[in-house]
Amino acid sequence: MSEAPRTFRFVSSDRRVREDRRFVVGKGRFAADIAVPGLRHVALVTCPYPAARIVGIDKTAALAMPGVHYVLDGRELAAATLPLAAGLDTPHVPRRPLAVDIARYAGEWVVAVVADTRALAEDAAERVKISYERLPFVLDAEDALKSDAPLVHAGHGSNVLLDRTFVWGEVERDFAESPRHLSLRVKWGRSSTVPIETFAVAASWDPWREMLDVWASIQMPKYPDQTATALKLPASSVRVHYDVDVGGSYGVKRGIKHTVLVGYLTKRLGFPVRLIEDRLENMRGGDAHGPERLFDVDVAFDDTGVIRSMRMRALDNVGAYAGRSPFQLGKPVGAIVGPYRIRSVQYRAIAVTSNKTVQEAVRAFGQSPTNYAIERIIEEVANSLGLDRLEARRRNLIRKEEFPYLIPSGSTYDSGDYHTVIDKVLAHADYGALVAERDRLRAGGMLAGIGLATCLEPSGGNSSFEPLLNPKNTTTTWMDSCRISVDATGAITATMHTASAGQGHETLVGTVVGETLELDPERIRVVRPDSLSALPSNSPVGSRMAVMLGGAAFHAARKLREKLVAIASHDLGVPLERAHYREGGVFDRDAPERRLGWMDLVTVAHRNFHKLPPDMEPGLSVSHVMQVPTGGALPTADGRVQMYPCFSFEFHLILMAIDPELGKPEIRRYVVGHDCGTVINPKIVHGMTMGGIAHGIGAALYEEFAYDDEGQLLAQSFMDYLLPSSHEVPPVEIVHHVTPSPHTVFGQKGSGESGYLGAPAAIASAINDALKPLGISVNTLPIKVSLLGDMIAAAREKIGEPQGVE
């Protein structure tokens, strides 16, 4: 695939993002903006207890209210639909939109009320009387593993959904032969992506055409198929409209349960039905929560700090049902050693159910917690040897000349130059001065620390974690597609086949098609046909669109060029090799004045069949369905597999100061070095990096779906779940480096996740550096002010440092 041009006209140039024009005037078309005539509204009645048997549901009072149309319970819905698809082979952990007989977390949806307005539906929801019998519950992942733990799903026989141990390489030997060992336990708290738009879906059933039209704020692979399957409809009866703008997702906008619910209701009731989660429904029972993970990491290393082997146990609390979330323990297999040359790894991945809200996919699909764990342990290795933390990393990093680099778990990293990225960042930041600044702060009585973190962003999204963790799943295909049509007037329309949540995919397609056709991208219209007119797509997950949609658009445009060249070669009567494409026209290389322009070629294709080369299809429509580069193989018996094709790299360097009296951390400087190969649109990559960092700051310092001992979610509004505001996100200096990927057409790699992958680790690193003089460290995220303040106070008391010094 090295046929791509080396220098670009439009790729990598700082062009505007075409989607932005509609958003700045308030003309985005979000799911809640879509006015379907006759729409009725859903509100939900949720279970107040972490575990309860539903003893009785009295709908009478609700149904008696004028304007209330229906009250749906779980039994009725279950009788008419199939359980939602689960990732693992766990048939006895069925998940349904509404609880059937037993509710398994506080906030689980039990009953849906349909009324003329949402307000009325909420009034009626209050009048549905549900009697419960409370059941024992379990909240903590380690408690859930105990033999006497209450079972979240009795039919499953245990709370363990997944417990797999992989051994890649000579772990026993490497541990035995290494002079030094170290163990660390770290915890990643339950947080998530929490888009500002909650999930919204409107569905309308047309019984005469047997068609379910769906408008939803989704980011979900195979959404139409899964919806149709659960509703027992042929997928050709489900038409998902992809021209809906999604108000942020970063993984969580899955929405299958919502869609099955409203799909059933519109079929049952004969009018369109909409569910817009309110923030309470969203945070308690929507697709809202992310990984909550406990890591036990052991490493074996030598006296110089070179790590030879790692054992990692990751215990994830996935909440009450399975869904896709256990796969988030699988994706990190693709970069299980991070950017380091660790030659053998034992990885034990355990997913347990608990009586908490279900976990969904979150930005980087489980990699961010794992990266945090890896980065914490490498710092402890450095500390144990009295080695500089940067030097410890340098000694372990894969070197430029070692690419392509095969890691023990079976992925080959495509390309990279990690040392150079780090050097560039250090030079940009003036590392010596930064260290001096930290020391100056310390001398002034502050706690201050420098944070370092590397991270790898696997991109291009294949689904190898599916067959890896579920042997019944044999999926190795993971497509994306583009169709380009040139109409008889010469106008160009390209397609994409999924919704987007702000990643600028229309700009991506326009840029790539423009680049390849050598035409102004502004001339390329980009549209999103509905799911019944669509080519395959697997949605913007796994940092895959630059690679996959960009790739599909490139190949489709190449096919179009080839077709134009073939027409011209035929009409000019010159051999193919002499017909040369430039900027929409084709000329004879040996006689450049002999040329057919864009409209000439379009006219031949559309109107002059007599001039077409024999056997050529008329018209100018081409499409390309692209398979993930390097994907396509099932895992080996010992669980090695190529997970994702491309690997971006980032290095985060920060300075933090903590007021020792208040424990309040403050980011004083943030520099990040970024290498995602060839950048297609700098504005987009810049924004993704910044947004990811802000999200990482949230996960590190502010955000947590905390529960009390009674199983009640404490953070269920924006007053208690704290998203960083403009005050909390510091200016970030971005240093770019480009190591093209050999697997992609322009050398591009993914870029949507790396800010989020590195920021939590970097912040933890800075805080631990700041705490070092006190002899303490913190190994739990988020690091909240009060917790940090109490730790610091205890440590200062222990070492007899006076408090209250100003």
Binding site: T117, R118, A119, E122, D123, E126, D278, R279, L280, E661, L662, G663, K664, Y702, A706, L714, A715, S717, M719, D720, L722, P724, S725, H727, E728, K784, V785, S786, L787, G789, D790, A793, Q803, G804, E806
Partner: protein
Amino acid sequence: MKAAPFEYSRPADIDEACALLGGDEGARIIAGGQTLVPMMAMRLSRPTRLIDVSRISALSYIREEDGHLAIGAATRQCVVENDPIVATRMPLLAAVMPWIGHAATRARGTVGGSLANADPAAELALVAVTLDATLTYREAGRNGDIPASEFFIGPTITALPMAACLMEVRFPIWRDGHIGVGFHEVSARRSDFAFVSAAAQVTVDEDGICRRIAIGVGAVTDVPIRLERVEQELSGNRPDAARLRPAIEGALADVDVTADLHASAPYRRRVAATLALRAITDALASAKQRGPDAC
């Protein structure tokens, strides 16, 4: 998240508001709505009638009278924030205003709404307690006064009679010597309700002797409190940094401190001492800078 149904009235004056309030047990006053509406949206509050006082012009003013600064209950927080009289006469009030939520909440939120809501972390409640403000209400055609020290009873509980409308809050203006103020708060995000806050106002004379001091701490317990023992210790004396912290800690020792999702009780107690100390230190420093003509 839609409010339960209610009736809406917009009385022309205070007496009509009071009459409506007296006539309906489930009625509630709405002023800026910045606290009440979220509570209603979550259906944690379900008034049968809202009585909108936000446009009663007689409740919206800032004026200096009889050695006091009087602020009408329905005065928007943004007006106080930008008011020149407040800036010169009531610098402590001016200092806390930017800490109340965001510009957009201050554009609607009122002084009286914040006081009547009595959030333990509300900056305005802290200033009212610290500066011995007096709150005036109207009920059934009569006015009544309540000193701030008696007004706040617990989280969102006040001494305001059920059918009363808060009319005014009056802050005494200090005129004795060089005035200085200090204010600090800690919250997770900059604009959140504080976990702990502290406000201090002092006057010092030409010799650096502390003539008068008021020090209040918010968010650590059910209502804002004064550190009276510290005030007694300091007034009439030259401040001694070494003795100050133990005195503050002593004053906080018996306080029944709140613990919640965001901050532990030990944190609040410890940081209250720190912030009180900082507020006093800042107040003393700014008093020395300002000079007497400032008030």
